[in-house]
């Protein structure tokens, strides 16, 4: 590792203008690239050591791709990922492998990410063997017992296989595997969304406990705003490949500044009838536009209830500072905050959008950024970097 300290001393992770574009290929005989799905399009963020950065957004906004690109599980198209001062995006071969020891990932689907033919002992010792850690058989056995204890599984679990566990227990195994190498950074991609509600809280508490005990730095990727609010210090909101707002968790939830954040938060159901009846609901028009053909100007303008005649359609808003630690990319953030501008109904937004942009909003999807785009077939994602 050639550590060249460039960033602030306490920033463990710095992402600078990161882009991940997937080419769309067309044709059977002439394999030509007809466009790009801009899954991540110029994201910059910083995660201080020991902090938790929460990344939220709807499916297809590029949050998972961003997380994978930081670990180089996805090849970045451009931009830099500085991990403790080293540019991960430029590493290759052995140095990259060494670096991965310090950054680990917890996946969404614990059953899909654990080899069904390996028992827990083998699953947990594998990373230790791979990185030559643990100090011999006895050392590894000792370490594994410690890990099981840390994630709250009985030592009888060692001889059992992933299918014998419940979802929550499987996620604990996934977490144990990720912390086995004593990483500095843990990227958790939807760590609780596959779990039952009563079990989600157990895993969230476990993550918090481990952070405190091992001094971990987290990047938590989730679509559930309540979960993200619960564990994050700083929250970044993504829409169509870009950050639209970033703020300290409490400030963001007290007063969201970007129209998309406002809509997102007003859409989250709260388990309390009194709150549900009184809250102001901002319904968005239509679906997420295709990241292969994102709208011009502000990418949110096709669905934005506060869209204005000027600037929104043709001028890309910069992410600018609007108060301490608060970044927002909206031309009209101040006016919206001060109540000068008023939102329109989804029907009005749809009709305005249809008049101006007959193309956008029509072909839109809100799932994974790869599958169906008519007859244009994107290249399957490379699974390993």
């Amino acid at each position: 590792m050639t550590a060249v300290p460039t960033a602030g001393q306490d920033d463990l992770l710095r992402v600078e203008d990161l882009k991940v574009h997937f080419p769309i290929r067309k044709g059977v005989f002439f394999d030509r690239t007809v466009g790009h799905v801009k899954a991540v399009d110029g994201v910059s963020l910083t995660v201080p050591r020991g902090a938790t950065y929460g990344l939220v957004g709807e499916s297809g906004c590029g949050k998972s791709t961003l997380g994978r690109a930081i670990l180089r599980l996805e090849e970045p198209t451009s931009g830099r990922v500085l991990f403790d001062g080293t540019d991960v995006a430029a590493l290759k071969g052995e140095p990259l492998r060494q670096m991965r020891q310090r950054m680990q990932m917890v996946f969404q689907d614990p059953l899909g990410s654990l080899d069904p033919r390996q028992n827990v002992e083998s699953l947990l010792s594998e990373p230790l063997h791979a990185h030559g850690l643990g100090g011999g058989k006895a050392g590894i056995a000792e370490k594994i017992r410690g890990l099981l204890d840390a994630v709250g599984l009985p030592s009888a679990a060692l001889r059992r296989y992933p299918h014998e566990f419940s979802g929550g227990q499987r996620q604990r195994i996934g977490i144990a595997r990720a912390v086995a190498l004593e990483p500095d950074l843990l990227i958790a991609d939807e760590p609780v969304s596959a779990l039952d509600v009563s079990v989600q809280a157990q895993v969230i508490n476990l993550l918090e406990e481990l952070q405190e005990r091992l001094g971990l730095t987290y990047l938590v990727i989730a679509h559930d705003l309540a979960v993200v609010r619960h564990i994050s210090d700083v929250v970044g909101v993504m829409y169509l490949g870009s950050l639209v707002e970033q703020a300290p968790a409490d400030a963001l939830y007290e007063q969201p500044l970007h129209p998309y954040t406002r809509a997102l938060m007003s859409a989250v159901p709260v388990p309390d009838p009194e709150v549900e009846e009184q809250r102001e609901r901002i319904l968005l028009a239509g679906d997420l536009p295709s990241p292969a053909d994102p709208p011009t100007g502000c990418r949110f303008h096709t669905r934005c209830p506060w869209r204005q005649e000027t600037r929104c359609d043709d001028e890309v808003p910069a992410l600018r500072e609007l108060g301490p630690g608060r970044l927002v990319s909206c031309h009209w953030a101040e006016e919206i905050r001060d109540g000068v501008l008023h939102p329109r109904s989804p029907e009005e937004v749809l009709h305005a959008g249809a008049a101006v942009h007959p193309g956008t909003g029509g072909r839109s999807r809100d799932d994974d950024p790869t599958p169906f785009l008519g007859r244009d077939t994107p290249v399957p994602r490379a699974e390993q970097g």
Binding site: S198, Q202, A226, V270, E276, D287, D366, F372
Partner: protein, 346 residues
């Protein structure tokens, strides 16, 4: 049951038993009773494996006959459906009873355009001509908020987004203005902003056409905003029934209380501790041996087990409009929060 309007659907003592050769039969639904009146929305809430989806399939008569034993009664307009022959059920399903499933992609036929799938219902149940059916389908898609419905009719399910597929499915369910709509996790596969749109659509539907809605979900937030009455299920039985305001303000069953305390809330402060329920739904014991939730419950005492008390835990009235299955419920002097008694697991 409101005395003014007779319930559309009355389920009484419904039980579903899955039998497999060489294995102990599984009792997925165990004596569930509830009713829905026109214009009413009820919620069946519970975690995976609690039997909520099997309940809905049993009501619609969609469970396979082989290896499944359905007992009890399901009365739709007073007619029993449990033993009804297939042609009767087929006449009702799609016409008087509609259902929306969780995963719209696997509930739509991938090889048939959306338009054909919507008009199929109209041709079958409303004896329309093809041209009429096409116009009606366009109107339906427009009503559920699909832009440019005329063009969408010709498209295949994979060309639509998740939210639009779910709308198309709702359009099909609404095609014959059913008096009962069963929605099984209709928004679970969708993003929150799309979820908000779909829930708004369902809300309008109930208000405008007086459809009775059975909402099956695991999301307490969805229940809080939509359902009039809520039935909480655990291991195949209803364990608590209440008006939604009562339920969220004063949960009585420790399981309900535990669920509410373990959900992170958008409006609670950062770092406010979550109180999880220990263990998982796998730890449930058979109801015959005692309260299925007892192994995970902080209030559990010896008499929660059948061998100590001599009887299984009954579902008993618990104040106006409430029913409860618990021997040691949570007490609420005045505090409206749903925390379980003293620091729970971990």
């Amino acid at each position: 049951m409101s005395p003014l309007q007779a319930p559309v659907l009355e389920v009484e003592d419904l039980a579903v038993r899955f039998t497999r050769r060489g294995e102990q039969p599984t009792l997925a639904v165990d004596g569930v009773s509830f009713s829905v009146a026109p214009g009413e929305t009820i919620g069946l809430v519970g975690e995976s494996g609690c039997g909520k989806s099997v309940t809905s399939l049993a009501i619609m008569g969609l469970l396979p006959r082989r290896g499944v034993e359905v007992t009890g009664s399901v009365r739709f307009d007073g007619n029993d459906l449990v033993d009804a022959p297939d042609h009767v059920l087929r006449g009702l399903r799609g016409a008087d009873m509609g259902m929306v499933f969780q995963d719209p992609l696997s509930s739509l036929n991938p090889t048939v355009p959306i338009g054909t799938q919507v008009t199929e219902v109209l041709l079958e149940h409303r004896q329309m001509s093809k041209a009429e059916a096409r116009d009606e389908a366009t109107r339906l898609l427009d009503r559920v908020g699909i832009p440019d419905p005329g063009r969408r009719l010709k498209e295949y399910p994979h060309q639509l987004s998740g939210g639009m597929r779910q709308r198309a499915l709702i359009a099909m369910a609404l095609a014959c203005a059913p008096r009962l709509l069963i929605a099984d996790e209709p928004t679970t596969a969708l993003d929150v902003t799309i979820q908000a749109q779909i829930l708004e659509l369902l809300r309008e539907l109930v208000v405008d056409s007086g459809t009775a809605l059975v909402m099956i979900t695991h999301d307490l937030g969805v229940v809080a905003g939509l359902c009039d009455r809520v039935h909480v299920m655990y291991a195949g039985k209803i364990i608590e029934t209440a008006d939604r305001h009562d339920l969220f303000a004063r949960p009585r069953q420790p399981y309900t209380g535990g669920l509410l305390a373990s959900v992170p809330r958008l409006d609670s402060a950062r770092g406010a501790p979550l109180t999880p329920i220990r263990g998982s739904a796998r730890d449930a014991i058979p109801w015959a041996e005692g309260c299925a939730f007892a192994p995970r419950c902080d209030n559990a005492q010896d008499d929660c087990l059948t061998e100590v008390s001599g009887s299984t835990v009954p579902l008993v009235p618990d104040g106006p409009g409430r029913e409860l299955r618990c021997r040691h419920p949570l007490e609420h002097p005045s505090a409206p929060s749903g925390a379980t008694a003293s620091g729970a697991a971990r």
